[in-house]
Assembly symmetry: C2
Homo-oligomer: 201 residues x 2
């Protein structure tokens, strides 16, 4: 196959992933149809299966694509906010995220949390992809919380992995409430509760 054809296939594949991600963020896995994806991506419906073996495999790739993209954004944000204090940068990055949610319409929240509720029981492949993705995000949290503990900025009566679990869980819970209340107030309040009260030494 020629190099140009390979690049074209890769671009189409990426386009389908982007369209699929946008639909999955808004409507979830089951309400998103292949027909809708292919119509928006402007490809014949049948050709979807040239790129992905099944809708389930497609969803696994969407989870990986979302995770890679968001972790890059997250790392860039953390780097931009880092003024020699990786823990302060974590707080600042969360504030940036919350500001983003403030403006977002619709407030889709986190794809990982939304899919966890919807498909953990019905697709083992998707469940494992979600587990892997969340592990990556929690590792970022854990390292910065550990730094905070080592520099007397974070309580030390709980391990950094346990604190990372807390931050991840409460963040996901507040994102669900954001969707239900149609307001970013739950995520703003959660940040205040965590960083100004619960995580302090």
């Amino acid at each position: 196959m020629s190099r140009k054809k390979n690049i074209d296939l890769e671009q189409t594949r990426l386009n389908i992933l982007k369209v699929g991600l946008s639909l999955l963020e808004q409507k979830g896995f089951n309400a998103t149809g292949i027909q809708e994806i292919t119509t928006i991506a402007r490809i014949p419906k049948g050709s979807f299966y040239n790129y992905f073996a099944s809708k389930e495999e497609f969803c696994v790739e969407i989870i990986q694509f979302y995770t890679k993209t968001r972790i890059e954004e997250w790392e860039n944000l953390l780097e931009a906010e880092d003024k020699g204090d990786p823990y302060l940068a974590l707080h600042a990055a969360f504030i940036e995220l919350a500001i983003g949610y403030e403006c977002a319409d619709p407030k889709t929240g986190c794809l990982l949390g939304n899919l966890a509720g919807e498909i953990s029981e019905v697709s083992e492949d998707c469940r494992m992809a979600l587990q892997d993705a969340i592990g990556k995000f929690k590792k970022i949290l854990e390292l910065r919380l550990l730094w905070g503990q080592q520099h007397s900025k974070v309580r030390i009566d709980l391990s950094a992995p346990r604190l990372a679990d807390l931050v991840w869980d409460v963040w996901q819970g507040s994102l669900l409430r954001m969707k239900i209340e149609k307001s970013a107030e739950p995520v703003r309040n959660t940040l205040e509760t965590l960083f100004e009260k619960m995580l302090l030494p």
Copy 2:
């Protein structure tokens, strides 16, 4: 209409709700089909619409039915555990819930959290039913946390409603991780983090 016929209709309706709830807990809203519900409930497919105007209205009623049932169970559990300390009863009731999740297979988690991720953006009626349901659960938490604050068992640097938000959010987040990790360890750890560390004065 005769009294007997009314009772029959009400029993069929209740049966459809129970079947629907079980399916929605496992598979979510979109993956649950009317055909599947009516087959398990042993009624003709078309007659579903004698009981519910639409699948969306059905989902609203499932949310209300789930909330009423769970709140009754929750209140009974709290009452059984209450030995003159409503806050201690709250902790004990959560431990009971966690033990239940330990044994549950599949680990469906909380219908409200699962649906929040899946349908908040697509059904305004369901979103409002979820908001109403969560408000009821949070009120129970809030009153017992307030009692704990008034009796020096719970920290007072955050209001009881704010602490209720924290407990609700972290619980929902840990239920999502329970589904993803196929283990009740996240909910056990969350209870320990909350009741033995974060909520203390």
